[in-house]
Amino acid sequence: MSSVRADADSHPAGSATTVGPMLTVNDLSVAYEMDRGAVAAVDRVSFELYPGEFLGIVGESGCGKSTLLFAIAQLLNPPAVVTGGNVVFKGVNMVGLTDKQLMAVRWRDLSVVMQSAMNALNPVKSIGAQLKDAMRAHGVTSADEIAKRSAEVLRMVSIDPVHLKSYPHQLSGGMRQRSMIAMALLFTPDLVIMDEPTSALDVVAQRSLMVQIKKLQAELGFAIIFVTHDMSLVSHFSERLMVMYAGQVAEWGATRQVFDNPRHPYSAGLLEAFPSIRGKRVPLTGIPGSPPDLSQPQQGCWFAPRCPKVMPVCTEVNPDLYSVQDVQVRCLLYGGPAGGTAPADAAAPAEEMSTGD
């Protein structure tokens, strides 16, 4: 095997107990500096990620999940800027590092997969040329090495290496997406961040891509942060799930917990919007209203205007994250001045909800 590939044995999937967290995000805040003032797109998000873990982040469009992702990878474009907190990856705080300083980590340890491969691949260069660029940027200079590794990663995602000479517009949508994933795995990084990689695909291609990703993860042992708006899709594959709303963490915990028994009214609403194909027939309920305008900060909980369980205190007090049985929820039903006066039915698992699939 080529020397580019890291030793796969050092990252067995799911070995969360033997080592500390690989990635720690502490109170990360990102704002967009506009003419009319700064708009907070991400507000004090914190979480930990262990080697080999699959973390899903879900939320509506505009909830800040993509911004969060780019903030973690230090890929923000102006006018977005990190306004607080830090991102500690393998012991190093990445916030504030220059591109040069980040080069050591980029792609070798942390790679990115974006939503639309048509936009994320340079249209005037062949796939092979782009792979070569990445390898040469990290010290691989032998033409032999480059050719071997390029063919290897393409085969990993079931693409015939003959396509090294192809240009992005010559490939199908699914192939483009897979070649992006192949590119991301060039150096078998420890963490792959994926921003809605399946959103541009049809349902069948989505499924097969997810299965392929999961298989690769089992083989190579990398951790994944997977951002999507499709909660049911990611819940099948992730170990931990984070629900975001208005730039804040709304709910966060083990997938099984969050998915089976969503505590935040928003998470519950999201789940009810995706009916199960095999479960009982339930009336489809959306979440009324529209996502909030983050440029108008308001008193109290962001979700209050749309919440079916809203209480008077919700429009006065900004809820913190409260722990409920290994899950963190940003809702006054579970803590704060209301004293956790959660109505009885919120704690019990809802019978109507099937576990999906």
């Binding site: 102006p78 006018p79 800027v81 830090n86 916030v95």
Partner: protein, 322 residues
């Protein structure tokens, strides 16, 4: 006289933002509201403000030349080749005329040409561009070929040839000739935007409502294109000023009209630069440049208004958080 820079990022088929979508992207409003919005945006943008002020000054001078220049421009019984003085702010020409008066009175001719050609060429461009986009098929094909051919054929040599056959002509001939040849650039841009608008939702809504095609075009499409139409007017006006002055400069306008271009013609004929009368050539040229700059600044400001990414940015520093 370089190619107008606005809108190059938005020619058909190129990657880039939606051309001239303007501050009211996606919403159809009556033309007047669009203009009001543009007015506000112009006031806020510094380049646009400078351009607008300059243009305003020229317009005032054109309307009230007598207020600023006491002499008649054709009066030629002064002593020739006088230098700058309080009596003659720019001196006198080789024929004994007051240069300042000529400069001031010449503004009218230039602005008339700019305005008329600007409006006429833009009208033709809107007509052809939007029609091509909406008629589609063979009509679009032939209109597009016509536009492209006129774009490619070098216009200034063509203008020279035509004016040459006509043994030069007065202002009317200039206006006619420049208008008939100069609409193609903006027509292309307008067609591109009209094409992209065709697929927009609010137009689909109008179609579903059962509105007639003509109604849709006039009441929905064109108002949305207000920003680009205004930009086209500015482009055509700029183009008219530069080409008309150039034609007059080489003697193909009527040398007896009062205009900056004709002043340059006489200056060149009398070797003004070489005989110690540089102002005779420099002053009208500077005026042309300034008026042109006014149009160009306004035009560029429109590019920024339509595409916020081009606006000046402040350098942001990533906060080093602990």
């Amino acid at each position: 006289m370089s190619m107008p820079i606005s809108g190059v990022t938005s020619t058909v088929g190129q990657p880039g933002p939606d051309p001239g979508a303007g501050p009211a992207a996606g919403q159809a409003r009556a033309g007047t509201q669009g203009l009001a919005r543009i007015g506000r945006a112009v006031r806020r943008n510094r380049k646009a403000a400078v351009g607008a002020v300059l243009l305003g000054i020229f317009i005032l001078v054109a309307i009230f030349p007598g207020v600023i220049a006491k002499d008649s421009p054709s009066l030629d019984n002064y002593k020739p080749r006088l230098g700058v003085s309080t009596a003659h702010l720019l001196g006198t020409t080789a024929y004994g005329q007051d240069m300042w008066a000529q400069l001031v009175w010449g503004t009218r001719n230039v602005l008339i040409i700019a305005l008329v050609v600007g409006l006429a060429a833009t009208a033709i461009a809107v007509l052809i561009g939007v029609a091509a986009a909406y008629l589609g098929g063979a009509a679009d094909g032939s209109l597009s070929v016509l536009t492209d051919v006129l774009l490619v054929i070098p216009l200034f040599p063509l203008l020279i040839v035509i004016a040459g056959y006509a043994h030069g002509g007065g202002t009317l001939v200039l206006i006619l000739v420049i208008t008939l040849t100069g609409w193609s650039y903006t027509a292309r841009q307008l067609r591109a935007q009209a094409l992209s608008l065709r697929r927009r939702d609010f137009l689909e809504a109008a179609r579903v409502r059962g509105e007639r095609q003509i109604y849709i075009i006039v009441m929905e499409v064109i108002p949305t294109m207000t920003s680009l139409i205004v930009a086209s007017f500015l482009t055509n006006a700029l183009y008219a000023v530069l080409f008309a002055s150039s034609l007059q400069f080489i003697g193909l306008g009527d040398p007896n009209t009062q205009s900056w271009g004709t002043m340059l013609y006489w200056a060149q004929n009398n070797a003004a630069l070489q005989t110690g009368q540089p102002l005779w050539a420099i002053a009208p040229g500077a005026c042309i440049a300034t008026l042109g700059a006014a149009f160009a600044l306004l035009n560029y400001a429109f590019d920024e208004i339509g595409n916020p990414a081009l606006r000046p940015v402040r350098r942001t520093r990533v906060k080093r958080a602990g």
